[in-house]
Symmetry: C2
Subunit: 218 residues, 2 copies
């Protein structure tokens, strides 16, 4: 796979910069289960996933592995090159979840181009922002543990009571019923909507996929 396919900003790099990245990159294959990067390894470098699947996780105190996010074909793993950013001070473990074929760009080679190229730097920020968003979603899952189930069950019950999948109810009132603040109800309903389970409009919550909602509630 051409290294250029991993970088939407490739055409905005100079030919010298393109050549520097291409010539620094090397191939690596990893077998399912292999730990590619953790706190004890040196800076592994930027990983470009040509095929297979990687997983980034941290450990709970009991040793349970908490998956932060997954990386698929054409994804780019930044945190295996965290040494390249002074302010990134946390450790994640990167493991091959399936046999994977990778291209590796050593951190210092990447850093050098990022230092001079605004497009590459901005692209790298976007990659970090996407991972940050994944992790914030995870935090909310932990903080709101089982709130999704409770809310799904509540909506199904209301629909049964009203005899209609279109509920005339505000997020505030749902919150009052359930003992949760309005903002939390709104966030979760928006998530339900993004998953196609409900449709939201002013003062109305309409159930659009009862089966999915029921699976969640049970």
């Amino acid at each position: 796979m051409e290294i250029s396919t991993f970088f939407p900003v490739w055409e905005r790099l100079s030919s010298r910069q393109q050549a520097a990245l291409s010539s620094a990159a090397f191939s690596r294959t990893v077998a399912r289960g292999e730990i590619i990067h953790n706190a004890d390894t040196d800076c592994t470098g930027l990983l470009l996933v040509e095929s297979g699947q990687l997983r980034a996780f941290i450990l709970s105190a009991e040793g349970r592995e908490i998956t932060l996010y997954r990386l698929f074909e054409r994804d780019l793993c930044l945190f295996s090159a965290s040494c390249m950013m002074r302010s990134l001070q946390f450790d994640v473990t990167i493991q091959a979840e399936k046999d994977a074929s990778l291209r590796v760009i050593p951190a210092e080679s990447y850093r050098k181009i990022m230092d001079e190229s605004a497009p590459l730097s901005n692209f790298t920020s976007e990659v970090m922002a996407a991972r940050f968003s994944d992790v914030m979603w995870l935090i909310e899952q932990i903080l709101w543990k089982s709130f999704d189930r409770r809310l799904a069950a509540f909506l199904l019950e209301e629909a049964a009571i009203e005899g209609s999948p279109a509920l005339k109810i505000t997020h505030e009132i749902i919150g009052n019923h359930m003992g949760n603040p309005r903002e939390v109800v709104t966030r979760m309903l928006r998530y339900f909507q993004s998953e196609g389970m409900v449709r939201l409009s002013r003062g109305t919550v309409e159930i659009t996929d009862e089966r999915a909602l029921r699976r969640l509630a049970e």
Copy 2:
């Protein structure tokens, strides 16, 4: 306060870029308790804290506010300008924790300079990475709830048994004693070290601030 003081990379911007940022910035004062930014507000812009203190938080399902991080004098708040990055898809609430005096740079003005300046883009990445690290630390606090107390108590007990503050013990053995994986023990011991409570060396954990450790354990 000069806007330049907020940007360590200021001298690496062109005079045109410096002028564009300076002229776009405006002043704003906020009173203690005021919500400056949340999911319902439009893009508030980049906030530069001249004085006072801000707090970024999210809500738990029960409506408990979970502080993600704080911002002090000379800090820069990126997430009030999250509209400027496509991949930043989460909402935080920013509140004035003390009366504060701010400079605000509208998101589109900042974005324009960031798009063309690698130094500004890389600096912005570092700011994001620092916040990301804060949030990862919070996740670990949630996941490892009370592990710090248990570990502090364990170290004090061992020191009492051995009659010495310098314990000859590996992280692995501590983990076996406590039913926690080695990595988790190592992370927490490193945190204790950064707080000056212990000193780590190969095969040894030396208690350097027994009082602080005791406060934690109790």
